[in-house]
């Protein structure tokens, strides 16, 4: 542990700092977690204030000088797995960050009700995981000022300060940054394609839509799986296409990511953009040629995965990490054979720029919010922010992702090797849903070459990521009506692709969307955008 501390601070002061940290840790460790002095502010060292006003530029130094006083922290977070993490791992975190952590787990399935109840009853914790920013209740709570606005604080913490401005803006409500953003990769989508099929047919990996069309037609007509039957399609689409893969394709054609700003400065949805209609024409062409599976409008995500593993089709527009999932499933089914997936993250229209639309709400999964009712004063807030910062460091990240070194994982060079998958699932996995910054993943190498490759490509996506402009904007009409009238453009898409509607009908449906409240959303968003951007 000492050794790695050196690396991540990397300053002349590092030696003294690590030594003093170690001392504090030992010192605090001896009066193990039961001390309740933490909430009284008198124990908070003045160094924090000093660094806040003083040397802001050197984040490493700022954090180095902070004494991490013992503090009790309760954390209301979401449990995405069956069982909470083991006490052993929590103890390790307590020791690492010098805190006494108590989790209140909310099962993911009941998160809305429980969160509503918690907000209604005011029975919250020091840290509350708010991961449903589209939920009107959570949104209203975040914009109401019941949580600390952390914007002016986080720049003092070296890891939190690295959060990109786009991410910060994306979780603001009413201009307030009511919590520390849950950082995720910005854009994970790309195209995965069967390399072995390409090889068999003597084709190159496509990078433009024009090349993609050729490859797709070959997959449909030239029997890429070599079973002598004309039984393959190319592009495996599913019922949520419109929201996920088709949105990416429209993005290739220049459509914005959900909401974008036009040249006249209007904030408009993607389905009114020319690129959207061009992408629809491509999909219709694909559907008619048998490139897309005929049952895509009813295919569930899991069936899509099955179809990919079984080689019913050879192209999927999806998260780049999915190639590995398809491969693993094929192995489970005993079908992997020569299966090899090529990953493409620079798909574009010939002569146009590469665009990757963010599929993770601009790279944030919500916020960790600190309610003013629980975190009474600035000193306590700063101590909690320090804790969150510590957990975004490499060590903190490893604790929450992989568990305890030597027990759950070992390091080989820069690779993390899991020791016992079952034990990890039981004792650690739940914590990985409460990580502060998932990007730290990419600082490690991965044992699996497929994962290593997709990690690299996902990081590469950030360079040409397209952001949704709407999250920081306010529109009352959007909050109440959007989910109700979204079905107009969405249904029209499926009906057009499957041949039930003409392009004129589609435009009529989109006009209906405008009439039933869409125009109001555009106006309100535009006004809000002008207000924010001068």
């Amino acid at each position: 542990m000492n050794k790695r501390k050196f690396q991540f601070v990397g300053k002349a002061l590092a030696g003294i700092m690590a030594f003093s940290l170690l001392l504090t840790a030992c010192n605090k460790g001896s009066d193990t977690g039961k001390t309740k002095e933490s909430e009284s502010s008198n124990t908070t060292k003045t160094t924090v204030e000093a660094s806040a006003s003083g040397s802001e530029t050197d984040g490493g130094e700022a954090s180095a000088n902070v004494d991490r006083d013992m503090i009790d922290i309760s954390w209301m977070s979401v449990l995405h797995t069956d069982s909470p993490p083991s006490d052993e791992v929590i103890d390790a975190i307590n020791k690492f960050a010098n805190v006494n952590l108590t989790f209140q787990w909310i099962p993911a399935a009941t998160v809305d009700e429980r969160m509503n109840a918690a907000l209604a009853g005011g029975s919250m914790a020091d840290i509350v995981t708010m991961n449903r920013l589209t939920n009107a209740t959570q949104r209203a709570a975040l914009g109401s000022g019941i949580f600390w606005d952390v914007e002016s604080y986080i720049k003092d913490y070296p890891h939190l300060a690295e959060t990109s401005q786009e991410r910060l803006d994306s979780v603001k409500v009413n201009g307030m940054l009511s919590g520390v953003p849950i950082v995720k990769p910005v854009a994970r989508y790309g195209l995965v394609i069967r390399q072995d099929w390409l090889d068999k047919l003597g084709l190159e990996v496509p990078h433009t839509v024009e090349e993609l069309e050729k490859v797709a037609m070959a997959f449909v007509n030239d029997d890429p799986d070599g079973n002598g039957q004309n039984d393959t399609y190319a592009l495996i689409e599913r019922n949520e296409s419109w929201n996920v893969s088709f949105r990416q394709v429209a993005g290739w054609y220049g459509a914005p990511n959900k909401w974008g700003v036009t040249e006249e400065g209007k904030v408009e949805p993607w389905f009114l953009h020319d690129g959207y209609y061009q992408a629809m024409e491509l999909y219709k062409k694909f559907y008619e040629a048998g490139v897309i599976n005929s049952d895509f409008a009813v295919m569930e995500k899991n069936d899509q995965k099955q179809a990919a593993a079984q080689g019913k089709g050879g192209i999927v527009i999806t998260g780049l990490y999915d190639a590995r999932n398809y491969y693993n499933l094929a192995v489970d089914l005993g079908l992997e054979g020569e299966m090899k997936w090529a990953l493409v993250n620079d798909m574009h229209i010939d002569g146009k720029e590469v665009r990757s639309l963010s599929d993770t709400n601009n790279g944030v999964g919500g916020v960790y919010a600190m309610p003013k009712s629980e975190v009474k004063d600035e000193a306590a807030l700063k101590r909690i922010l320090q804790f969150l910062d510590d957990m975004s460091s490499k060590e903190g990240f490893l604790l929450m992702t992989n568990g305890i070194e030597g027990v759950h994982y070992k390091m080989e060079g820069n690779k993390v090797i899991n020791l016992d998958q079952e034990k990890w699932k039981q004792e650690v996995q739940a914590l990985s849903g409460s990580r502060i910054n998932e990007l730290v993943t990419y600082e490690f190498d991965n044992d699996n070459p497929m994962v290593q490759e997709s990690n690299k490509m996902i990081l590469g996506n950030e360079a040409h990521a397209v952001y949704d402009v709407s999250p920081p904007l306010q529109s009352k009409t959007y909050d109440t009506l959007y989910s109700q009238i979204e079905k107009l453009p969405k249904d029209a898409f499926y009906k057009y692709v499957m041949g039930d509607l003409t392009m004129d009908d589609v435009k009529a449906e989109n006009q209906k969307w405008l009439d039933q409240g869409g125009q109001q959303m555009i106006d309100e968003f535009t006004a809000s955008y002008k207000e924010l951007n001068g």
Partner: protein, 324 residues
Amino acid sequence: MTSATDNKVKKVQKVKKVKPIKKKGRLANEFKQNWLLYLMILPGLLYFLIFKYAPMGGLVIAFQNYFPFLGIKGSQWVGLEHFRRFFSSGDFAMLMRNTLVLFGLNLVFAFPASIILAIALNEVRNTRFKKSVQTIVYLPHFISWVIVVSIFYVLLTTEGGAINNVIASRGGNKIPFLTDPKWFRPLYIIQEIWKGAGWGSIVYLASLTNVDQQLYEAADLDGASRMQMIWHVTLPSIRPTIITMLILKIGDVLELGFEHVYVMLNSLNRGVAEIFDTFVYTAGITNGQLSFSTAVGFFKSIVGLILVILANRLAKRVGEDGVY
């Protein structure tokens, strides 16, 4: 959802209490004499008061812009705004039509299916065969809708679905069962019957065991055929049960079951498949619009209550008992 039945219970309780009130002394006297009986209804009474009536107070949020952290006191009052939005949205007519059509089909096909099944089982003389059939037809009830609809997906899909494979191998054109709006209603009813008929027949089988066997013997002596016995003896004997079940069913007219329709719904069949529950789910619940969702739920309960009262009156007018 249950408020229609709650109101029914409320009526029942009122009737019970109304009787003795005439003079104050009489009530006290009555209470003194039968205090043990009153004590016995106390747990039930408390149950309904605490878990059914008290929460009804929460209905006021249908008239507010309710946010949990503001509470009922702090939330803004908006009057009938949510109702206005609901009734004036272009979808209301479609939702009403879809709901009523599905309910009608349910009533015409699925409701009698249980009765027919029960009577058919009742006619089976071999007990072992009867018991095993009974068990088998109950089973689908315990399968969740997600599974039922998935089974139909596997059978009916156009990419390798068993039925379309057969059609294609005989040279026919594949039928898009799952996306063609014309096929939604038949599939819905077939699934309802497959899943629910066996379970629904239990109550009729129970009431069939109470039919006086002498009636059959008498009918037999008069030379009645099997069909005539069913028509003139069996059916009239279970008529009260059928009427009761029918009235209860009518109360649920707008409660078709969210899960079933939701898993069948897609962009292509929405025009015939969207019902109140699925609409509220996408338009209100998914993004936490509690007040709007409550307003729609309130509307459904009121319609259900009115229909139960009407159906009950109708039942009484034709000489049946009704449910209260």
